[in-house]
Structure formats: structure tokens, C-alpha cells
Amino acid sequence: MTMIVWLTRHLQTLVGTLGDLSRNPFSSILSISVIGIALALPGGMFAALENINKFTAEFEHGAKISLFLSPEVSIIHAKKLQQSLAQHGDIKHIEMITPDQAMEEFKLRSGLKDALNSLADNPLPVVLLAYPEDSVARSPEKLSDLINELGKLEPVELSQFDLEWIKRLTAFMELANRAVWVIAIILGLGVFLVIGNTIRLAIVNRQEEIRIIKLIGGTDSFVRRPFLYSGLLQGLFGGLLALLVIFLLFSFISRPASSLSSMYGISFGLDPLQLLPSLILVSSGALLGWLSARVTVGVYLRQFEPGKSQL
């Protein structure tokens, strides 16, 4: 068989399969919708996880260590310390809050304005706010090392960080991660089953055809080819549909999500899937389709061996 004949055959099968799908629009749309929905969910989960990661990164970005200096430390002295700490490798950025600023904020926050106004002296110390580098903020160990290190500096009376919040975030992320993986695995299995099931029923449906083709000398690969293309195409279209569903889903959810995040003082827009993950989603749909067609056809072709095919 020449190359041309071979190519012609494959192209014919491809076009023929496309034709079959479009000749049965009802059933094709059904199968592809099922596959699309089954693929959309792990894809959507993945996108959600990405967004959660981005969201927590925003938080890490805002992570800061408060350094309460001894009351006797002057503002000038504090400024020097600020400048030297700005050179520290683990610190991205450092800010100073004077006792007056601190008292103003404290009054506002505590609602004890009148009571505090009666204080003759401002008892509050100078506070430095150190923003750690992202790499440090992301690791609880490095962070507590930095906090200890800064706490040992001579003018610092207390170095404090809201570690509790980091712990909560970590626990939440662990929960989300687990849930996403469990669901993704279940749904991946679902896609495999759906496509396998569709192909299986297509085969059962075309048993007679397969039997006849084998009787007139068709090889296994000849019989298999249209099913493989059909699995591939269904998976591919299902993947594209999944992409569409994810985009719609995200656009539906993005309003409440951004209003939620604005409450945390973070400007945060939901991203749907990027190009690369989108490609991966679509091509894994196609691959899953091909693979489950291959497995199913393999199982069923054995029925058509001599002595098993009751004619």
C-alpha cells in the first residue's frame, strides 16, 4: 500500500466520522455534552484552585511583621534602624508608624476616643512595619526565623506577626486542595467512563457491521480506525465545550467573587483558564476519548474471533 493510499484512507475515515457525527446531530450533541460537562468540572476546579492560589498570594503580599520599639527609642533612632533593615535580604519594604499616628489609629479603631483623650502622655512606642519578601512570606519556618531574628535586635521590644492567619490559610488551602483532587479524579474517571460507554454502545450498535467487515477480510486496525477517530473527535469537541462552560461559569461567578475580595481590601479579578491549561484540557479530552475508544474496541473485538461470532 502506497503512502498516498494510506493517507487517503485516514483522511476518508476522518471525514467519514465527522459526517457520521453531523448526520446524527441529536445523538452527537448528547454525547459531546455529557463529555463536555464531565470535563468542565475538573477543568473548572483547576481554574478555581489557580485563583485561590492567586488570592492567597495577594494575602502573602500584605503579610507584615510589627516591630514594637522600646518606649525610650527616639524617632530619629528609629529612622536609622528603618534604613538599615531596608537592606535586609528577607525584607522587601519597611514602614514607620510614630506614636502619634499609632494613637490616632488606636482611637479610631477602639472607639475609646474620649477615654484616650484624657491621657496626659502618649504611652505608645514607635512601631516599624516590615514586609517580608514573598518567598519568606510563603514559608512559615523562614517567617518565624525572621521574626525571631528581628525580635533580638537591641531596640526592638517585641516582634509580632499574625501567625494565626497564616495557619488558617494553610489549613484552608489543604482542604481546598484535597477536595479539588478528589473531585478531579472522580470526574476524570467519569469522562473515561462516559466516552467508553458511548463507544461501547456504538460498537454494540454496529456489531453486525464489524462482523461483516471481518468476514470479508478487514483487519482489526481497519475495524478499529473509525471508532478511534470517533472517540478522538468526541473527546476533542467535549474538551472545547468544557472550555466554553468554564468561561461562562467564571463570568457568572466573577461579580460576587470580586465584591468578596474587595472586602479584604484586595483588588482581585477572577482569571479563567490560561492558554496552556486550556490546551491541556482540550487535548486531554481528545486523548481520553482516543484511549477509552482503544480500550473498549479492544475488549469488544475479541468477540468477533472465529468460534465466538455466532452467525
Partner: protein, 223 residues
């Protein structure tokens, strides 16, 4: 092709012995009829030749090849040498008549260039050239049977096996079909036909094998 059965027994899984200790030889280029009552084992014998079933005991040898030892992957190539006509036509209902007849050529990687000519020639022989675009379901019973015959001869097999090829045809048409087989045989094709119609056996004067309850009771020339 030379066909040789030696003490062949075929028992179906359900326990029924459809052939019992059958032995015979068909020479290359011979035309042989297979007769017997309903349920005698005619279709079963043809299934052993076409490797739809394996013999339970005994040997079936076609063209020097012991079919019991044929390797699985070579089975399609073995079948491509055989033209088969089935009792129930076995057409693909989603393909046109043309595509049905073309199928054996497509399957064996025949070059598309000559395909059209060959298919039309085969359809012409069975008188259905004008129905080539129809779907099999829109044909009458006899027309479907003729499509099946065209498909069996389209790739010029060296062995032609037919199971009641004219059960649904009237006398005139059925004569034409048998004459067609005879003509193929004349050009060197080995022909093996199961039929109830003793008239053709007499008319063509060929050897006939007779089965009764799975036993070969006669191998004479009944002409």
C-alpha cells in the same frame, strides 16, 4: 483452491453435533453442490471453510493450509481469497449498494482508481447497475441477495462459497445466478454452493455432496 476435510466433527457449545466425522476432497477449480435437509449441517460446513468456526475434531485443509493452525493476524488475508454469499445477505445498511459492493476492495487496500470500474462490472453481472446509489433497505429481498452476490465476486476470489444464494429468487433469476457461478468456475475459480434446489444440480451436471443429520451420506455426481 483445494479443500480437504478429514474426519471433521463440529460440536456447537450448546452440545449439538452439527457435523459428524465428515471427510471429502474438492479439487482446485472444481464446482461442487452441497445439499441436505434443513438443519443437516450445510451452513456449518461452509463456516468451517470460511473459518467462522473451528472444527471440534479432525482437520480442514484449504490450499495446503491447515486452518486449525492458521495464525490469528493472517486470518483477514485468508478470507480475502474467498468470496462469500450468505443466506441472510449480510449487507451494511448504512452504506449504499455501491459502497457495499466496493467494501472488499476498500478493505484490501485496492487502488481507488480502478475501484469504480470493478464495482460497476460486478453490479452489472447481477442486473443491479441502475440501483447503485440505493440503500439496501430500499431493495426487495431478491435484489438484496443479488447485491450480496456482487460483493462476493467483486475482488475475483479464488474460492467462491455460497449458502442458498437463490432462496429468494424466482426461477429465471436463479438460473442466471447459477450460470454466473458456472462461468466463474469455468475461469478457474473453485465453487462450493449449498442449495436445496436439486434442479440446478441436474442442469449443470456437477458433483454434489449430501449431508444428513451431520453425516456425509453421498458424494456422487447426481447429474
Amino acid at each position: 483452491m483445494l479443500i480437504e476435510f478429514s474426519n471433521v466433527t463440529k460440536r456447537y457449545p450448546e452440545g449439538h453435533e452439527a457435523l459428524r466425522d465428515v471427510s471429502f476432497v474438492i479439487d482446485k477449480g472444481e464446482m461442487v453442490f452441497l445439499t441436505g435437509h434443513s438443519g443437516a449441517g450445510k451452513s456449518t460446513l461452509l463456516r468451517l471453510v470460511t473459518l467462522i468456526e473451528y472444527a471440534t475434531r479432525g482437520q480442514v485443509i484449504v490450499n495446503g493450509q491447515n486452518l486449525g493452525r492458521l495464525k490469528r493476524p493472517t486470518l483477514p488475508y485468508y478470507r480475502r481469497q474467498i468470496g462469500m454469499v450468505f443466506q441472510d445477505h449480510k449487507l451494511l445498511h448504512n452504506l449504499s449498494v455501491f459502497d457495499n459492493v466496493a467494501l472488499p476492495l476498500i478493505v484490501s487496500g485496492f487502488h481507488p482508481r480502478d475501484l469504480r470500474r470493478r464495482v460497476h462490472a460486478a453490479l452489472d453481472k447481477v442486473g443491479l447497475l441502475n440501483r447503485d446509489r440505493a440503500k439496501p433497505i430500499t431493495l426487495s429481498g431478491g435484489e438484496q441477495q443479488r447485491v450480496g452476490i456482487a460483493r462476493a465476486v467483486v475482488n475475483r476470489p479464488s474460492l467462491l462459497v455460497a449458502d442458498e444464494p437463490t432462496g429468494n429468487l424466482d426461477a429465471g433469476l436463479s438460473d442466471e445466478i447459477f450460470d454466473l457461478f458456472h462461468d466463474f468456475n469455468y475461469h478457474g475459480v473453485t465453487v462450493l454452493v449449498a442449495t436445496h434446489d436439486l434442479r440446478h444440480i441436474k442442469r449443470l451436471g456437477k458433483r454434489s455432496l449430501t449431508l444428513e443429520d451431520g453425516r456425509m451420506i453421498q458424494q456422487a455426481n447426481t447429474a
